[in-house]
């Protein structure tokens, strides 16, 4: 492994990688910059880069004049609520499958995965009907339940792969050391499982936050989260670039930061352990 790499080569790779990295990141950067411009500056010809009068007026405008706070609240409640509900249902299931595997465990896991692959349009109208029947259209509870259901397979899978990594010998060691089942769970299993559960929560909040099929089609105003709010941001040509940018940055910033922390879990969570 250890091999002297010429400094010039390393500089070359650095320059290339940074160039491409910035290019890919550019739309986000540009949105960020635009969000601090006056509307007129935002559509200036030629485009203005860094040197303009930075203003936060777009942010205050979005916060004051629109449904933004409600949408933000809805996003938080729906993303966090659906994830926690999913965790409550998934932890026992993943636990049992990892530690007491049976003959059909594999089949159950694969069947759960097949749920995730069901195209949403296939069940669109029945869901609308059911929601109407229970009078929960455009309600947070409906989206909490639906997003929990669509992400439950991923939650179970992620937890399962984490739990399976806890070596059996450690549990046996605890038993030899005199721990009863209660102490085994409190002192050994839980501390070892918590990091996995935390990563699962993180990734699923991200997935739920960005879900944009059910949130768009099953809400109007009351339960509309940021996905729907942004979609309805129908700017007349060019007039609202700065405010659109401010709203966008506020919608993606928290999740972007969470996402950077969860990059490792992303691979595990979205490939169902097929790539390690």
């Amino acid at each position: 492994m250890a091999r002297a790499i010429s400094h010039r080569k390393k500089m070359m790779w650095t320059a290339l990688a940074w160039g491409i990295g910035l290019l890919i990141f550019f739309p986000i950067l540009w949105t960020f910059l635009t969000s601090f411009k006056a509307e007129a500056t935002a559509i200036a010809d030629p485009p203005v880069w860094f040197f303009f009068d930075w203003t936060t007026e777009n942010y205050t405008a979005v916060l004051e004049r629109s449904n933004y706070p409600l949408a933000l609240m809805n996003s938080i409640i729906i993303a966090v609520g659906s994830t926690l509900l999913g965790i409550i249902i998934a932890v026992p299931a993943a636990w049992a499958m990892a530690f007491v595997p049976g003959k059909r465990t594999k089949d159950v896991l694969l069947w759960m995965l097949s749920n995730k692959m069901l195209p949403a349009v296939g069940v669109l109208y029945p869901l609308v009907l059911i929601a109407k029947y229970f009078d929960v259209l455009d309600s947070r509870i409906l989206l909490v339940v639906i997003l929990m259901l669509i992400n439950l397979p991923i939650i179970v899978w992620m937890l399962y792969t984490y739990f399976r990594e806890i070596p059996g010998e450690i549990l046996e060691a605890a038993r030899m050391d005199g721990a009863n089942l209660k102490n085994e769970i409190i002192y050994v299993l839980t501390p070892m499982a918590v990091p996995g559960i935390a990563s699962t929560i993180l990734l699923n909040i991200i997935l739920a936050w960005n879900e944009a099929f059910w949130t768009i089609l099953l809400t109007t105003v009351n339960a509309a989260p940021l996905t729907k709010f942004i979609a309805s941001f129908s700017a007349p040509e060019g007039l609202f670039y700065a405010k659109l940018s401010a709203a966008s940055i506020m919608a993606i910033a928290p999740i972007l930061i969470m996402g950077w922390f969860s990059q490792k879990q992303l691979v595990r969570g979205l490939t169902f352990g097929a790539v390690k």
């Binding site: 070596p167 450690i170 046996e172 060691a173 038993r175 030899m176 050391d177 005199g178 721990a179 050994v188």
Partner: protein, 337 residues
Amino acid sequence: MGRITLDKVQKKFGEVEVIPPLDLTIEDGEFVVFVGPSGCGKSTLLRLIAGLEDVTGGEIRIDGKPATDLPPAKRGLAMVFQSYALYPHMSVRKNIAFPMKMAGMDQAEQERRITKAADALNLTDYLDRRPGQLSGGQRQRVAIGRAIVREPAAFLFDEPLSNLDAALRVGMRMEISELHKTLATTMVYVTHDQVEAMTMADKIVVLRAGHIEQVGSPLELYKAPRNTFVAGFIGSPKMNLLTGATAAKHNASTIGIRPEHLDVVSEGGTFTGRVGVAEHLGSDTFFHVHIPEMTEPMTVRAGGEVGLRHGDTIHLEPRAEHIHRFDDKGLRFACHA
């Protein structure tokens, strides 16, 4: 304190009988090694004693008290696992303290024992580290520390050295032997390495397919292997086993001669062959000799440096008093012919 008795202990996994009914007594303070090829049931036997597996039949008694239905925690045994099984989220100190904490021991006593164990195992400087920051040998010591602080009736070791490199293994082997001398507590040790068995054990139990092939002290096993399996398994390099006409001359169906019981003679000798590989170690020389009587090369150990090379002709004379004779079932004849 620490006499373990197995009485017709049997284990089945489903329909498969891993350990047929088996009797064994481990005396207090003894260092007993279970040895055998992989899959011989030695680890299963240890786990039955530990209580990590349920017995299918028979009884286990510890110090005369029935322990068959006791959970592992109640048997008063400590175990050192192959993977060490340290708790990754706890510091070394907490790892060692865990069994005492579970037993509800008071803080001062816990501290005293941790200090003593850390001192004995050279862990004092590492008490506040996590297992992930330790080397293999240090982890091994933590696992042992966790076992000794409980002052158990007996220690169980499940191939504890197999994850260490060769040099470390020799060192740890001696440390464990030292520990046994100091504590004088019963130790049951599982390994597939006959060198470990020979060097550490008071008593060796040779297992094959769940059966006990022979029980005895290392020297008993070396001098009088009960059958060809034990003969071939104990001793390094392996005993040479010859069949056919050569064996018939000794009224046996198989005879065994250890490499160290063959003398290199200048001419004549019972066996004459061509040197294949010659390993010159300085202190000893090992020859792998191709002789017509054996399909595999015959291994010969000569003391010091013997100047024969690949391709040379060699004459060998076995020492008559060290020829082991086995009957057609592979069992040892009671006495020499």
